[in-house]
Each structure stands twice: as C-alpha cells, then as structure tokens.
Subunit: 367 residues, 2 copies
C-alpha cells in the first residue's frame, strides 16, 4: 500500500480527527474529500457490519443543494424519474444522465421543501453539471454545496443505536425518508439509508464544526451494542449487488445496463435531460447488462483495481468491474458489465496478466 | 501518512508500473487518477528539479477533446480569452469560468486542427461541463477523453534530454507550442510546457499501452544528465507562484483574484460563459487578491492541508491556501487569498490550532 499525500484539493471531512483518534489506517478520495476505507481489521469490520453495528465517515457523500423558485423544476430536468409525487421529507434514488443517456451519477434526492432539494451524490461533479444546466436554461435556482456531512450507522443493530440517540420515532422512518432534528443542539437530518444492505441510517451533520462531537455521541450511544468504526464495505457491497458509480460504470454506461432501468420513467417531459436517448435505448434494448460472476478457486485473489476483460468462447464479451473475496460465500465474486447475449449460467474466463480464471455468470445480488 | 486504498474510481496511469518499479512511495488523486507525489526523497527530488532534470508521471493531467465542426466555437464559448488567432500547434493557458465568473479550471488549450482541440485540464470535471454546454447550445461537437497521458521532463537540463530523444527541433519550440511526432513508433505530442518554472517539456503519450516503454526511453536518454523520477514539486511551485486550481481557489474565486486577469479578454463575444460577470468584476475590482506570505521561524512548520485564516489588526482578512518550507529561502512561505485592502509589506498573523504565526505579505512569485 502506498501513502496518500495531503493536499488542499482533498479536503478532510468534519469527522477526520475523530476517525484518526479511532485508528483509521487508509483512505480513498471521493468528491475531493478523504474517505476512510480501513481501520486496520478488514474482516472484523465486515462481520461487525453483518452481525452488529458499524459507524462510517461518509461526509464525502456531499450534497448538491438546489434552492429557489425553480429548484423542483431543475431537479426534474436533471433526473429521468418522475418526481411529481415526491413529498417533503422523502428521499428518492435517482439516476442522473447526460443528453446521450449515459449515467453521470446516482444520488439520493432529498426534498427538504418545495423550493429546496439536496442531491446526495456519488463521486462526480454534479455542481458543475447542475449550474451549467440551470444557467443555460435561465432557471431561478442557486446551486451550492452546503455544510452537510453524512455519518452512516449500518448493520442489524443500527436501529437500536439510532433510536437510543433520537427516540423511537426513527423506527417508523420509511426507507429513504428523513427528518430534520437536533442532537444535543447539533443540527442534523436523520435518514433511513446507507450504502449497505444490512439496514441502517445516515445522520446528516449540518454543522461541520461539530463533527467530533457527533462522532463521539454516536460512539457512546453504540457502546451497548459494541459499535465500532468502519467504512463502506467493499465485500458487503459486492455481495449485496450495490453499484459504485465510476467504479462499475464507464463514460457510456446507461441506467438499463446496470439494473437502474426501474428508476427511469419514460413518460417524464421531453425537457428532462437524456430522456429522448433513454427512450431510444429502451426501445432497442441496451447493448450490455450487469450480472454477477463467481470465480473458481478457494483462496482470495487480488484482482487489483482495474477492470479485467471477460471472454466467452474465445471472444471478449465484457469486463469484470470489481472483485471481492466473499467472507460468507468463500469465493471470489464480482460484477460483469457484459454483452446482453451472455446469460446466467454461462461459463466465462476473466483474464488478468494474460492468465484466465474460470467463472460462472449469475444473478445479482449474490446474497 | 495514511495508506491509499485502490479503487476502480481512481485509475492508475499508463506509467503506474514504471513509477512503481522506480520506487514511488506516495500518491495524490487528480481527475480520478493516481498521481505520484513522492519517491521517498523530497529534498533530493527538489534539488534535481532546480539543478538537473526530473521526470514526472502527470498522466492525471487529462485531456478534454473537442472534435467536430463546432469545436473551435465551443472552445471560445468555454474560455473568456480571445482564441481567434490561435494556430494549429499552439497551446494557450486559459481560465475557464462558470456563468458567475468563478474559476472552474485553468487548462492549457492545445489546437490540434481547426476542428480538434484538447483542454489539458487541472483537477475538475470539464467533460461534464463541456458536454452540458455543447448539448444545451446544440453545437456539433463531440466531447471525449482520448487516450492521452502527459509525461513531464522538467528542469534546466530537460531540453538536452528531450533533444537527445527527438532531435534539435525541440530547442526551437516556443512556450506552450507543441508538435505531433513518434518515438520508436510510439505516437506522442511534444510540448514546451510543464507545472514548474525550471523549464521543460511535456510528452503527451497517445497510446496508453506504451507507458512503460516511453518512461524507460526517457529514463535511458536522461541517464547522461542524471535524470530521476519526481513529481509536480510542492515547494518549487509555491516558490514560483504557480496556482493550484482547487487548492488555492474556492467555489467563488474569479481569475482577477488569483493573478489570471491577464488571460481574460473582456471584448470576446457576449455568448462566452462568464464574460458578462467578469466585465462587472473588472469594473468594480475583485474583492480579494493573491499575495505571498513569508512566515517567521527558521524551521519547517507543518501547516497541513487545510486553509488557515489570516488576521490583520485582529480582523480576519483572508486565508493561507498553501504553505511550504522553501529550501532556497529557508523560510515557510505560502499564498494568501486576501482582502484587496491588504498590501505588500503588511504584517499579518496566520492562525493554526488557535496559535498565531507572524508573517509579512509580499509579491508573488517568491523566486
């Protein structure tokens, strides 16, 4: 592992000092912010998420705030999903596409008020995108990055911890819904969401100066359930079939190729960006689709961080876009972005450094 | 120093294996690519750049290609600098601004043909920006990321190395001009440019599969002048007054605030993005400007990677956006983005962890 050099281009999160005190050992970068990726015990961090409760600094999941008379109109122009019935307090997972229908992000859209929305984004610059569209279409809306930083509490015991902090009302929160509140004077929004399939919440800190305080309040409340620090878990997200925008997608990937077609509403208005391209793609069918691959071999294999070509019958048919050792399945598993002619059950070869590894295509998620 | 976790969101460069073989120890990320930042000997790497010749993997300085009938038109719409006289083979440093006149990147624009340009960008997503503008204005132009990766050769002996590789014609290249050629069959463009003030060239590799070969050809040719691996040098760039977009700028910084006013031509057409805002800012004067700060103290101080507030007479007047120990000046020096009422010679306090360090404002560059 190499070191990461500090830079003002890569901001620390409001939880940086707290994660440092708790022994963070490695980072990735995401939206020009440092995101903790390890506290030195990868397998223990995994099982804590599966069986207990884990807390994550995901401040890097930044917010693109749309505010003003045309905020709702801009949100709908950006997202090819019908937002007309979205309620204040509701979040919706939305694919964002460019004019060619290619995915440019897959945020959660939170409706805070009729004239105020947050796009809680994956790792690409949607501020520039939204500002360009707003200005070119002369919309009355301000696009900004507010002082808002999510802290995720994930795992089967997450609800107990969050209820202990905020009260039993959190148990009634529906998936992706949220409520603004305070915790010992710290302004937050509590949402039922998070980048795992183990259940949990995201606490959106709305005052960056209170990062260490919020971190420690969550840590103290979680002690009864043996909470510990973790991070978006690579193994769990692969097992659970969660998409990583920019990791599992390329410049030409459309929502239909990566199992997001159900979040596209083809009947939205013609001025929604990408909708005309998406209608064409839907009519002809996407060229690729996303399946799982289970590889042969009973030891963890390091596939590194490149995409690896996938062959079937001697022809390249797609790419392996990630690969993790599954602690539960005891197999190397990954996602294939692959020609639509390939199907579940097909035998393929994944090639790394010229050497093939045999695998079988399967449905996602794995678990 | 913390580790950096590999991820498909953070691409290795075509020179990755070669830099690994040469002992790279640390990286930053830049345009979603790993950029080497250290080979383990920071002071030696600095003096090699000042006195000799250094080679850098700056593949992360990606290209935004504009291609098609309206490529030149789009370039001019994006850049508030008059491009009407740009020649094929010429590069120009251009500030890019949003509609409010805030800087969003500061690339070199290379004109490859009348219908083909590259923006060789700093660390922000100009593909999304350019595609949004092109699509909204219905321009006939394709915006893409070509397989092009610069390798910089920098330092007073760089010209000797590059001439040994390509021939004496490189000695005649004017600053920012370039020529397409091949090196042992490898397609490249050779430009007189680079992010240092020590002179040198950037070799734009145009076939990513040839990264290790090109790296080793440069390394072999440079042996006679004791070439070694380095990276964009933090100390040298601070001494030389070179701007880091995203490091020394925030979401509201305009070109006039950071010494780029001379690259803005106020008489460009009204459809150039940001020009109307820039005319207003120019008329009233920018709120801030950029000066140097020389701090008291004769030992290197770790200011870390945050901005630090600057006070004058007890009032906050701006921020220290970087701070380096200057090996030549034997002082901690940095850039101040500061109220325009502050002037060269003023005494200020830079506050870190509640403690002030005395400094004096000065002109940039330092050297």
């Amino acid at each position: 592992m190499f070191g990461i050099t500090p830079s003002a281009r890569l901001r620390p999160s409001p939880f940086f000092e707290a994660t440092r005190a708790d022994g963070v050992t490695a980072f990735s970068t995401y939206n020009h912010m440092l995101m903790p990726t390890s506290f030195g015990h990868p397998e223990a961090e995994y099982w804590r998420l599966i069986n207990g409760v884990s807390m994550w600094d995901v401040a890097c999941e930044r917010q693109v705030e749309l505010r003003g008379r045309d905020a709702g109109r801009l949100a709908q122009i950006l997202a090819p999903r019908d937002l007309s019935k979205a309620k204040v307090g509701q979040g919706k997972y939305v694919p964002l596409c460019n004019h060619a229908g290619a995915l440019i992000n897959d945020p959660i859209l939170l409706k805070l008020a009729d004239d105020r929305y947050w796009l809680s984004i994956a790792d690409s610059n949607i501020w520039f995108w939204a500002r360009a569209i707003a200005a070119e279409r002369k919309l009355e809306v301000a696009v900004s990055e507010p002082d808002v930083s999510p802290l995720a509490v994930q795992g089967p015991k997450a609800e107990k911890v969050v209820a202990a902090l905020f009260g039993d009302w959190v148990r009634e929160l529906k998936y992706f819904w949220f409520r603004e509140t305070t915790l010992e004077g710290i302004p937050v929004a509590v949402a039922r969401s998070g980048w795992s399939k183990q259940g949990g919440f995201e606490i959106y800190l709305m005052d960056g100066s209170q990062g260490a305080r919020l971190w420690n309040l969550v840590k103290d409340a979680g002690k009864a359930w043996d909470i510990g620090p973790g991070s978006p878990n690579f193994c769990e997200r692969v097992e659970s079939g969660l998409l990583s925008y920019g990791g599992d997608t390329d410049d030409h990937t459309n929502p239909y190729e990566v199992r997001l077609g159900k979040y596209v509403d083809l009947e939205v208005a013609d001025d929604v960006i990408g909708i005309q391209a998406l209608r064409r793609i839907h009519a002809t069918g996407a060229r690729r689709h996303q399946l799982g691959v289970t590889l042969e071999g009973e030891e963890p294999t390091q596939f590194g961080f490149l995409w690896h070509p996938i062959y079937r019958d001697g022809h390249k048919v797609g790419d392996l876009t990630n690969c993790a050792w599954s602690y539960r399945l005891k197999r190397n598993i990954g996602f294939a972005l692959i020609d639509r002619a390939c199907a579940v059950g097909d035998t393929v070869d994944v090639v790394k450094d010229g050497k093939p590894t045999r695998g079988a295509l399967c449905e996602l998620p794995f678990l």
